[in-house]
Symmetry: C3
Subunit: 266 residues, 3 copies
């Protein structure tokens, strides 16, 4: 138990992330701190939830994940800590852990309220430094979650609405773009499991993906399957349907941003 | 003694930071290296000085902080090393450590000049790699500062001028914007201690903050205290007065950049 | 043997780099992971090759360097691993290691094909996570390169064409801009060794460097050697000729991008 990960919307232009690392190492000098990303769009809890879902399975048992995307900092929102799949998660109660909880029922879930595990002075503006970092450091040294506060039930937590794809009356899967990566690839909320469940009798090459006024025929195995500068749909490294442009940039090609609608027809 | 931090204006697009880490780990394989930030505006010694001040108190005793914001690299400017509050600092003598020295008189202060602790070849353009990184690694392994060069007195160092807020003839605190964070929050050089000293009889809600043609009434506890899209003044996580816009971006709202004037009236 | 470096074109906006670190630490919890850079321009194998060349010599024996700039991911291109100068390198066979091989003949060179060292599931789109990270982690724990796959000869590898400077019929060294750093400095492919070999009888002050319609007279020792806002040529920290503008930005001054032509006259 020594890895502590950070997933924030702080960016790295300021000293905020470095300060959180100082707090963690002050309490647990042997911690190995890993940045998942600090480039979540400011206050985009949905993007953070999917990013965490894509990352956590690749970390070993005992890893402590700290998520600081926290539009409600300084208000009455709670901070929660949970254990699932032998990993630990600390975050504001704003739905950012809802993808984890959906796939893994927590074995322990608590409200973080025992200030003995906080910094001595808690600001109104930086709970990542004053609460989440020291609590995460204590968990990584073996502090039991039950020491941190009262047990919660999963159904007491705030959840994110309308983040899963749905099937519409016409039999199409209706999804949307959750994030756009550096290469301009459009990452959707349509998982390969959704495709398999909804289109069980279709070959990948027969599925149609509609975006704006375009239709992409077939789900390919690689980005390179399409002609240069042509769109291509693949199951990306997160397990979700992605739309790319071979040797190009799908964001620019389709002129879309996060939230854009994607429809799939079997 | 194993944490070594880096604070530079190198950005992370190039390999410069990675190279400094290679040098440090070559000399001290057990070092835990923490990035404070590499996004200081090129050669902005003032921004770096405030960023370091905001970060160092959150690191444990024995931490070695390396600061490479160095417009004078290759000229006759000295490199200095000092110990204060049981932490170590290595930087060019250009005032970047002046916030540290102001709040903590160094117990040891030396000019770095013993090339036995440098890389074998010292370039004219990258003293961060060739001098500061290896000297920092040696300090983190226990090398005494007195081995590095001659003792200096604090008053021999270059200091930064006009970086503290002042009180003008009209009884206003005159400050300025020192940095702007990712969220567009304007971080000033007016510390909560300045407010308390200058306005001892005023409640936070009675203080007025003037920026451009606007006046913000009161210092609030949280960013969320203002109506959406309205400006709000808070004491930020650094302890300095910050101007934000609730659910918005103060840089854009006020159309200001670093250096903009801020006035406070009791 | 515990340092593992990463050099990619992934950026840090997405969770990809964090995921690779999770994979490495799952297999080798004591690894010290160092980011060289993740800001290689998407799929710019040449920029990555020069960046790696500039960095690796500053790391200790036993370091494992993982390079993931991989336009051909999911196609039939091989992944290779090699040992040179007591360091290890894993990368796609697309020429990104060609600067290393040019300066250091590998003592061992293999095609990576033994899936026992891969993740259980290998995607078509993220071999950095599924192959290169776990193979690198295994090498850092002592796995012999011969366990990974068949021996290759250096001349079987793909090499990059036209990346070295050449001498033209008029006796000029013809080079180009390989990368542009955060300060706007133009880093060329003309090494100080090229200058010494081509202009053995000239003093640095006598050499002329032509870029666009300008001619810079002399190679200076420091950026500060020129008048403010004037161009200056120096041998940069990589050992290559760089063109800078004192107190300014050479990219903007000359209005050039990567690939721009540079000519040197003795």
């Amino acid at each position: 138990v020594k890895i502590v990960t950070l997933l924030t919307d702080f960016g790295t232009d300021d000293e905020y992330v470095g300060v959180m690392k100082g707090v963690i190492l002050s309490l647990h000098p042997e911690a190995a701190i890993v940045d998942i990303t600090h480039s979540i769009s400011p206050q985009d809890v949905v993007q953070a939830a999917f990013s965490l879902e894509a990352a956590y399975l690749y970390f070993p048992a005992g890893t402590v994940h700290l998520v600081v995307v926290d539009p409600g900092v300084g208000t009455e929102r709670s901070i929660i800590a949970l254990k699932a799949r032998d990993q630990f998660f600390v975050a504001p109660d704003n739905g950012v852990l809802s993808r984890i909880i959906k796939s893994e029922m927590p074995s322990t879930l608590v409200r973080v309220e025992n200030s003995a595990y906080f910094l001595d002075t808690v600001s109104q503006t930086f709970h990542g430094r004053d609460i989440i970092a020291p609590v995460g450091a204590h968990i990584s040294t073996g502090t039991d979650l039950n020491q941190l506060g009262a047990i919660l039930q999963a159904n007491e937590l705030l959840t994110l609405k309308n983040i899963d794809c749905v099937v519409n009356a016409g039999g199409e899967i209706m999804g949307k773009v959750i994030s756009i990566d550096r290469f301009g690839n459009l990452i959707t909320n349509i998982h390969c499991h959704n495709l398999q469940a909804h289109c069980p009798d279709k070959k990948p090459a027969e599925i149609e993906i509609a975006i704006r006024d375009d239709v992409i025929k077939g789900v390919s195995k690689t980005y390179a399957a399409a002609d240069a500068h042509s769109p291509v749909a693949v199951i990306g490294s997160r397990g979700y349907l992605e739309i790319a442009v071979s040797m190009g940039n799908a964001r620019q090609y389709f002129n879309v941003e996060k939230g854009a609608s994607i429809r799939v027809r079997c």
